[in-house]
């Protein structure tokens, strides 16, 4: 079991308190104080489950802007094109599909980086991450792909997550 560290508690507290303010959206002293107490209690108990690496990593403005730009720009572009593709398959009678599971290498090393890439892949219609493994220091993802165009791991990886991974690499290792 990991020990509870102060930066981790602070990061969890900030996220919990931000959610409290967004959900209540009333700025009386009572509400704000109650929210602070509840958030602090939750952060003390659960910080060690949430934060496993450096807690202040995204507090750097350059990284934070890169993160925002990735979710609003790069990811949205991929999401919309994949959605149009999926809608075309569905309205076309779901016949011209060619499903399969491919194993692709990923350059990400940290848990957060792998999670961000894997969840981006899963959130894009047409690909679902099913498993991650590590072999000799290289991380691999097993991805279910509805329309397999490449079976070579490198080329399939470029087709599935090329631009997503380049976007994530700007703020997570």
């Amino acid at each position: 079991m990991q020990k509870t560290k102060l930066p981790a508690v602070l990061a969890t507290f900030v996220v919990c308190y931000a959610f409290w303010i967004l959900l209540t959206w009333t700025f009386t002293v009572q509400e704000l104080a109650a929210g602070a107490i509840v958030s602090l209690a939750i952060a003390l108990f659960s910080a060690r489950f949430f934060v496993h690496e450096k807690a202040g990593w995204l507090a750097n403005p350059v990284r934070f802007l890169a993160c925002l730009g990735y979710w609003i720009g790069t990811f949205m572009k991929e999401l919309i094109s994949a959605n149009l593709n999926m809608a075309r398959i569905c309205f076309g009678g779901c016949r011209d599909i060619n499903p399969g599971i491919v194993k692709i290498p990923t350059d990400m090393q940290s848990d957060y980086g792998i999670a961000a890439v894997a969840n981006s892949i899963t959130l894009t219609p047409g690909t679902i991450t099913m498993e991650t493994t590590e072999e000799d220091g290289q991380n691999y993802l097993y991805v279910h792909w509805i329309d397999v165009k490449e079976t070579d791991p490198e080329k399939a990886g470029e087709a599935i997550k090329g631009s997503l991974e380049r976007g994530v690499r700007r703020f997570w290792k």
Binding site: T26, G100, N119
Partner: protein, 114 residues
């Protein structure tokens, strides 16, 4: 009036993708492909409706609280959906579910054959 038209366009975009996803869920041949189709509903289907709702609540109703609650709902769906579908797909595969038609490649079956 103009606002209403813009909101309705966003709702319509969301509903088109939700309809596509529903059709995919009903018509796809195997479990994993059906799971792929539902992602359409959870991404652009939800996003279209959420953007329309936020615009309507913020400009039409002048209620910032409602607009933010709608945006948080959309954010939570986007954050939780990939985890759910990843675990469902993995559980289905480990539980022994395989498509009737042979898959193009099956690296997971090749590496973890038991």
């Amino acid at each position: 009036m103009a606002l209403r038209i813009v909101c309705d366009i966003f709702f319509a975009i969301g509903l088109v993708f939700a309809f596509a996803g529903t059709k995919g869920i009903l018509k796809m041949p195997d479990t994993f492909s059906r799971m792929q189709a539902q992602t359409c509903i959870a991404t652009l289907g939800v996003l279209g409706v959420v953007i329309g709702g936020v615009l309507y609540a913020a400009i039409g109703m002048h209620s910032a609280g409602t607009a933010i609650k709608i945006a948080v709902i959309g954010l939570l769906i986007l954050v939780t959906n990939p985890i759910g579908s990843h675990v469902l797909a993995r559980g289905a595969y480990r539980g022994g579910i395989r498509p009737e038609k042979k898959m193009e490649t099956d690296d997971l079956g090749r590496d973890f054959d038991d």
